[in-house]
Symmetry: C2
């Protein structure tokens, strides 16, 4: 907590006596994760200064270890290039694997950005006087132990480790085999630097690549939240194979709806940007819905713009009726539920705003959906009834990410309906506890005849003992 009297000094007594090192091949993993769970308790109480000192040391250590890390990455890269030739890795996976000096710059800058973020741990969220001398504080605190499972991208390690540290969470990483040397080099540099400044040993844990991902998925007794970073299939696999809450999204089927009252120029520009500004990502648009009242004025220009920019258009009968068969393909049923992540878009005409809303709630993935309209009543209805984590009015779907939403750093984008939704920053790593401070208060006094009455008055007072 921010106001902690207790800078971390060692760990609590007996904390690690559950940890074992027997013959069970899983014993080491379990032992490390149990240690991380214990360290999480101490880390949760670390003060802001201690955490920022560690982050500074981590940034410096990364800077001083460029050669070591880039050398390790070269080993992974040469193996990866062979795997690519054998068709076992895609081009984009190999690209994400590279760590060069420029990427190192980015990692270091990322850690320094996290230092600037406000420490959320220990904030008093609400205070209520239950009765004289009996005060209830709701205090923001870290969740505990975060599990991070990721493919390729070794830059996940500094990014997530720094966010977890700043928020007071311990973290266990499980990376892909293809990046094992790089991950280990980065992890060792960062964790050693943090421990040297007094961060509880064991707060960070990297599972070896020989260990199966199922090991981490089964530790629902230890790991409080899982963050997967990888393809949709990867996230879906994790969601389906663990009891641990998973923060993330398995699909990004985003929509733009061009309303009857849309400004045509805005609609053209927003739709094009939503598709082509970066088509490979989850917040790019896949389905464009167009109100029939504006279809004739809008669709021919839109389709021409898409085609001129290299976008393949798949359209319903009604759209083809307006734009002709030459420039578009006929959409199949499956197209309305497909995340292309590519220069392809499906276009469908709708009769009404409500048909668009209904279509989006059925075919979308609760990620990001945008309406283009000058009619603010329609915009309000859309924003109320579209059940997505981000609903946009006259803006490109590409805006919905953590950086653009001003979160500083992104844990991920969540399409969950509980805990955290949409682009998630450090707040997704936080929960709260209640601290009730009395002076020997007992419940008997508030029960039966002559019972004392509660006051239940919200007051403006930060937690202090």
């Amino acid at each position: 907590m921010v106001a902690s009297l207790f800078i971390i000094k060692g760990t609590l007594n007996n904390m690690n006596d559950n940890a074992s090192n027997g013959d069970d091949p899983m014993a080491d993993i379990k032992s490390n994760v149990i240690n991380a769970k214990s360290a999480a308790i101490m880390l949760s109480a670390a003060d802001t200064k201690a955490k920022d000192n560690a982050l500074n040391a981590m940034a410096d250590a990364l800077d001083a270890s460029r050669k070591k890390i880039i050398d390790a990455n070269e080993k992974d890269m040469s193996a990866a290039l062979k795997m690519k030739e054998a068709g076992e890795l895609t081009d984009s996976m190999v690209k994400r694997l590279i760590v060069n000096n420029e990427k190192m710059d980015g990692m270091i800058a990322g850690i320094k950005d996290v230092i600037k973020l406000k420490d959320p741990a220990g904030e008093t969220m609400s205070t209520m006087e239950l009765d004289d001398g009996l005060t209830l504080y709701q205090i923001r605190c870290p969740i505990g132990l975060i599990g991070v499972i990721f493919e390729s991208r070794p830059d996940v390690v500094p990014q997530v480790m720094s966010l977890c540290l700043k928020s007071g969470n311990a973290v266990v990483f499980k990376g892909g085999k293809e990046a094992s040397n790089t991950n280990k080099a980065i992890f060792d540099v960062l964790s050693e630097a943090a421990y040297r400044t007094g961060i509880p040993k064991g707060s960070f844990c990297l599972m070896e690549t020989r260990e199966d991902v199922s090991a981490i998925l089964e530790m629902d007794g230890q790991i409080d939240l899982l963050i997967p970073r990888g393809s949709n299939e990867f996230v879906r696999y994790i969601q389906s194979n663990t009891k641990i809450p998973v923060l993330g999204h398995a699909a990004g089927i985003c929509h733009v709806y061009v309303d009857a009252d849309a400004d045509t120029e805005k609609a053209l520009s927003v739709s094009l940007d939503s598709k082509i500004q970066y088509p490979a990502v989850c917040n790019a648009v896949e389905n464009l819905l167009v109100n029939k009242a504006i279809a004739k004025a809008f669709l021919p220009k839109m389709v021409e713009l898409f085609v001129n920019n290299g976008v393949e258009v798949r359209a319903d009968e009604e759209t083809i009726g307006i734009v002709g068969k030459d420039k578009v393909k006929k959409a199949k049923t499956a197209d309305w539920d497909t995340e292309y992540n590519d220069m392809i878009i499906s276009i469908k005409m709708v009769d009404s705003l409500d048909e668009a809303i209904d279509f989006i709630n059925k075919h979308g993935s609760k990620h990001t959906d945008s309406i283009v309209t000058e009619n603010m009543r329609n915009a309000l209805r859309f924003s109320e009834l579209v059940d997505s984590s981000s609903v946009l009015v006259n803006a490109s779907t590409r805006f919905s990410d953590g950086f653009r939403y001003g979160k500083g750093a992104e844990v991920g984008i969540s399409t969950n309906k509980v805990h955290s939704r949409g682009p998630v920053g450090m707040e997704g790593l936080m929960i709260y506890k209640y601290v009730l401070v009395g002076n020997g208060h007992i419940v008997k006094d508030y029960a039966g005849k002559n019972a004392k009455k509660f006051k239940h008055v919200a007051i403006d007072k930060d937690f202090k003992l």
Copy 2:
């Protein structure tokens, strides 16, 4: 949302076209739950007045239907008494099943209390100007469709239905067979009253008793959050057999720790109240930890007080060394992990504050743990390092419930580490969505050379279109 222009009028086009009624015995259930999911969308946008009107009508209808409901309950009661004789129902389950005029009064008063609660839906939680004319609103909204699985207690229906309605959530109930007639009578009265005032039909759904609980557990595509109400075994079963997030707790192993610097009188009083004020519930204390420095002064009085009040004491060797063998039993290993829910307590001596913290984090259930001390540094360390949803200082563990915490009504007590923790009121039924309002803004303008810069300024402005 509070400021909605759109009082509910019917449902959206085509909303129910997934619903089927074929030969599959599950088809009806699925069809009802899919309808509820659709209704949830409309209900989420209902304004406060519409929801309060419905709640008033529900309270009135309950009052006017006392005879019908009590008659239905008599059927369940006579069957239940036979089951009790056959040993199939416990005495407390039968007791919770009774609905008489007094219980009806309580249900009606409960609904009226919910009317007084502030409508959380539509609240602007935060607003950020991303750039000129591009504003990001974070808006509180209902989660969607809540599943409630409960044993006995028909009063769960009015309580949860009113909380869900006020917060804009649809709800599907699955009650126990033993209360089927009563549940159906109450459900029909309440849902018909709500629908008459314009609440979207299908917002409330009661699964028939012939349907298995597994049906509801498997609907992770429809149900967003499950709230189980019943025994620990019941909750544990549900947690282990569904992918839907579950809000609740499967155990309540609570501790009182009497510190070296405790005031003895407060320690005696808080410990006794924590055990005997209502021993059958989850927030009663099960393990009492006593610092060795105060043990001789405290333990003989404490044990005498427990024994005089009919509490069986199970103690470790060190405690027996002080209080003798006459009044206490020797605790077995299993005692430290047992929720008695009864007039039994385990007492253990500890060497230090940190040993107590460590013991609680290992043996507790993250529910409620209390320290008795006059030393505020120790109280702070305890409150920081005990990883429980409620941490109490000089107060009885019995305080940790929704009513005493001033929440008006309680959804449940959660020992989860994400979403909601501790006693949960209506806030546990809420999540948020982001609404980004622009004027044709596109991401291309914020990328590459000459990129526009984001402002990212938090502003104090409620959502309005």
